[in-house]
């Protein structure tokens, strides 16, 4: 599909017209790391986070042509997709583990600890401490400190006021700090 190109001088400040995937590649280059960090903050497992990030970025690429988010809406849009991808990934893992993977033996060797231990100690500690927190706390933490969204963007994404987002982030991070300190893992 050819992208529309307005004639010279018509579209002040608009990004250059690129092939559909090419246009998204800029988004990919700028935000792939943040998407991955966010997914890691929600899923804790680097391999699952990578899968969710890849799926989120692919979904975003496919709908980018249709949605064409502008600078103000790009990040909430992208991380809404990332959030859905992490939910899908968590459900997929749980479903497969619960319903299909009945053959695991009673052994610690069955635990998938290799990926998690590959992370830096402080990241691992934060991921472990975040794991048991309520979903809203995990989301706010992931969006705010892992993805780097502003309070306004977090507010838009979670459907709350900016003030409420600030309060939610403050409290969630306080709880995270307490959990990390309780387990003695804050570096």
């Amino acid at each position: 599909m050819r992208m529309m190109q307005a004639e010279e001088g018509d579209v002040a400040g608009a990004p250059p017209a690129l092939a559909a995937t090419g246009a998204f590649e800029d988004v990919y280059r700028e935000y792939a790391t943040a998407v991955y960090r966010f997914c890691l903050s929600q899923l804790r497992d680097p391999s699952r986070a990578e899968e969710a990030a890849a799926n989120a970025l692919a979904s975003a690429c496919l709908s980018y042509e249709r949605v064409r988010p502008d600078a103000a809406t790009l990040r909430p849009w992208l991380f809404r997709i990332a959030r859905n991808a992490t939910v899908d990934e968590a459900r997929r893992v749980r479903r497969s583990r619960l319903l299909l993977d009945r053959l695991r033996s009673r052994s610690h060797a069955s635990l998938d600890v290799e990926d998690l231990t590959a992370l830096r100690d402080d990241v691992r500690a934060v991921a472990a401490a975040t794991a048991g927190m309520p979903e809203r706390d995990r989301l706010v933490i992931g969006l705010r400190v892992a993805a780097g969204l502003s309070h306004a963007e977090v507010a838009e994404l979670l459907g709350m006021s900016e003030t409420a987002a600030k309060v939610a982030a403050h409290r969630a991070l306080q709880r995270l700090r307490a959990r990390v300190e309780r387990t003695g893992e804050r570096r």
Binding site: P69, L111, G148
Partner: protein, 416 residues
């Protein structure tokens, strides 16, 4: 990073995550996911969840500034927010060749968008087996408990329990029991009470009433190894116990909800480890339990989307600076009616960076669309005189999260 003022906690944890780099294989997995999604694009399966999302996102984008960009692009817009109409060479619509009409043809009306976004019903999970009114809460004396084995996932270990009604009368369980792990001397090693540590990594369902049927099959024999399944009419509960010191337990105390009394369960096992124990053997013991769940009922119901088919019938060409008249046919392929009250909004795109226009659908004349019924809407769209001639895709998206596939498109060539 964002420009907000950050406090110490935010700075600290932001710096922690700033050390994380995506694996080098992310790009390859992204392209593989893209290929999978594209190859499955014509099918309902994998993309099902993406479709309503596309409409939802369209709402957000348009609400956030689509009108402004449409103005920049020089499109005349009916009720899209933004400055006044851009130059359009002629108010006379393009001569319309024969356009497809299925069902009644609803004339064009440039209605202002409402900004609404109807959502698909997200059915609440219900009890796996309906609980007859008046069913009493289960007492400990009616029940027996067994272990179902172990399962592990991403650093978590589950030691699920199964509960069986061994009395002759049905009863109901609902909620979270209090659980205490005790050693051979009766010393509590790990308690979990009240609202603390509800739900484990393995739970995905909320607490629901579980009808405990009488005379269900015996519980599985507990053996080390693969997890065993419980039977219909029985209950299961996930349990995780992490203690880096691996203390040896002897029993579990299970205090039932509704003051149902205590069950004592043989639990001759050691606490499991966790990735968090690595280098931190002094982590406190942590015991978590999920809700009591009906055995065999383990999935959340999907949103209840309405199956419809949208098709766009448009002339092959449109002259820039004129108004395109085209048709959108909506077919209800579901077994239920599709209520068009209130009328949803729709977006139109022509390969632009933003939605070109947004209106409310003129569906009041159509009313509720019966199963199998079709209706065709006439739609007008102004093309700016400044538009570069060439082939494009005309896309039309209904802003309605109730639909499984809320959009359609058609090729269009802009000529001078």
């Amino acid at each position: 990073m964002n420009a907000d003022q950050m406090n110490d906690d935010e700075l600290h944890f932001t710096r922690v995550y700033a050390t994380v780099a995506p694996p080098p294989t992310l790009g390859a997995r992204y392209h593989a996911a893209l290929d999978r999604a594209r190859s499955s694009g014509a099918h309902g399966g994998e993309r099902r969840s993406l479709r309503p999302l596309a409409a939802a996102l369209a709402v957000a984008v348009v609400a956030a500034g689509g009108g402004v960009t449409a103005a920049r692009l020089g499109f005349a817009r009916g009720h899209v927010a933004g400055p006044g109409p851009a130059p359009v060479r002629s108010a006379t619509p393009n001569p319309t060749p024969s356009l497809t009409v299925h069902g009644p043809l609803i004339p064009w009306a440039a209605l202002p968008p409402t900004g609404a976004y109807p959502q698909a019903a997200n059915p609440s999970p219900t009890a796996a087996i309906p609980v007859p009114p008046g069913t009493p809460a289960c007492r400990a004396s009616q029940l027996e408990v067994g272990l179902l084995g172990f399962q592990g996932a991403t650093g978590h270990t589950d030691m699920p329990l199964a509960l069986r009604n061994r009395s002759g009368a049905a009863c109901v369980l609902n909620g979270y029991p209090y659980v205490t792990v005790v050693d051979a001397g009766g010393r509590a090693l790990a308690p979990v009470n009240g609202n603390e540590f509800r739900d484990t990594f393995f739970d995905q369902l909320p607490a629901l009433p579980v009808l405990m049927l009488a005379e269900t099959p015996p519980l599985p024999v507990v053996t080390p190894g693969p997890q065993q399944g419980a039977s219909r009419g029985q209950a299961v509960m996930n349990l995780t116990w992490v203690d880096c010191r691996h203390p040896q337990a002897a029993r579990l105390w299970l205090d039932l909800p509704s003051a149902g009394g205590r069950l004592v369960v043989p639990f001759a096992t050691a606490a499991t480890s966790s990735p968090a124990c690595d280098g931190n053997p002094g982590l406190p013991s942590e015991l978590a339990r999920g809700p009591l769940l009906a055995a065999g009922f383990t999935t959340l119901p999907s949103p209840d989307y309405i199956a419809t088919v949208l098709t766009v019938s448009a002339p092959a060409q449109v002259r820039r600076g004129t108004t395109l008249v085209y048709h959108v046919t909506l077919s209800n392929t579901d077994a239920r009616p599709y209520p068009l009250d209130p009328c949803p909004d729709f977006n139109e795109f022509v390969g632009a960076k933003q939605a070109i226009a947004r209106y409310q659908l003129n569906c009041t004349p159509a009313g509720s669309l019966a199963p199998g019924a079709q209706v065709t809407f006439e739609v007008h769209l102004d093309f700016p005189a400044a538009m570069t001639p060439g082939p494009y895709t005309l896309e039309w998206a209904l802003i309605d999260g109730r639909l499984e596939k809320p959009y359609a498109d058609a090729p269009i060539t802009v000529v001078s």
